[in-house]
Amino acid sequence: MQTSGQGDAEAALRDAVLSGDQVAWRRLYDGAFATLWAYVVWRCAGNRHLAEEIAQETWLIAVRRMRAFDPRRSRLQAWLRGIAAKVLQNHFRSVRRRGELARPGMEATQASVDERSLQTELIARSLADIPERHEAVLRAKYLDLLSVAQIAADWGETPKSIESLLTRARHSFRSAYENRAQDTLTSNESTT
């Protein structure tokens, strides 16, 4: 949960950055980098190359868009995660468009040679496909390792509703994964 002390500190850093204070930017960057990096790596299912690309783009957008960050509304980490999720979503959309136009099925054919990279890509894309709230509860439970009771307390909900949300999130993750796997299979078949 957001405490007023954290919010005030982030507000002060934000204002300093907006006035051109590079030391403040260094503090903000160093303070948030590791957590954001862990999140991006998780969202990219461990694909380092993709994670580095997404992390860089996220930070570039964050510094350009710093004026839009409102510490009264969200914590810095949540704001950065929102940008990273959007960057990743846009990345997959533009790659799909370019891939389809360049050579249909090429991505899938290459990936089928390397089963592990195919799985990584399928998982990352499936995470991008599920609703934001489902992704958030999976992250809280499995990446941040919070208990159901902690998530419920943080989100101001009951443990039972979080249990139910987790079940739905796992289902939608599975559906997204199976749909993606099916698409890949179809794409592979159409190229052979």
Partner: protein
């Protein structure tokens, strides 16, 4: 939560989240790139403030001189008032008249606003329109070539093949980026 196990790769992913140490060079490289954008904004804002102050001082001095001259001669205040309105009128013309305008919705005035609206847009068609428009504004009004190129490249990423063909109506930067895009993809 074990009543409904997921396929093995998903269960493995959830139970054993991937963890990679961040390369120090990458971390510092990103910091350097972002850090350069911090003073740039301040410098630009400072330039705008200085330019605005200079214009205000020039107007005030001009008005004072003209009113001083006017007192010694025949009264010509109506002319003076009319002339002061000219700079304001010059700022009024709409940014660009081409086919890349967004739908009737209210237009943000600054290319940065347009760029973020494009970034958040769920519809690819809208993304393309807004990125092109933001690029035009960066290029024509702010002479910010780097930002213009960034927006145009995003527009090309989300556009269809026919939109990536070079047209006579394209500006020099769009032409160059389209040519490079064709080589790269």
């Amino acid at each position: 939560m074990n009543d409904d196990l997921l396929p093995e790769p998903l269960e493995h992913f959830l139970q054993t989240p991937p963890s990679l140490p961040a390369a120090e060079e990458m971390r510092e490289a990103i910091f350097d790139r972002t850090c350069r954008l911090v003073p740039q904004r301040l410098w630009r804002r400072g330039m705008y403030i200085v330019a605005g102050l200079a214009a205000a001082v020039a107007l005030a001095v001009g008005a004072y001189v003209i009113s001083g001259l006017g007192k010694g001669e025949s009264p010509s205040k109506p002319d003076m008032v009319e002339r002061k309105k000219e700079p304001e009128e010059k700022q009024k013309p709409p940014p660009l008249a081409d086919q890349k305008k967004p739908p009737a919705a209210a237009k943000p005035a600054h290319p940065l606003d347009l760029e973020w609206t494009a970034f958040d847009a769920a519809d690819d068609r809208q993304k393309v329109r807004l990125y092109f428009q933001a690029g035009d504004l960066y290029l024509d009004q702010h002479k910010d070539y780097e930002s213009a190129a960034r927006c145009y490249q995003q527009a090309l990423h989300f556009s269809e093949a026919r939109e990536r063909e070079i047209r006579v109506s394209d500006n020099w930067l769009v032409m160059a980026l389209k040519r490079d895009y064709g080589k790269e993809y």
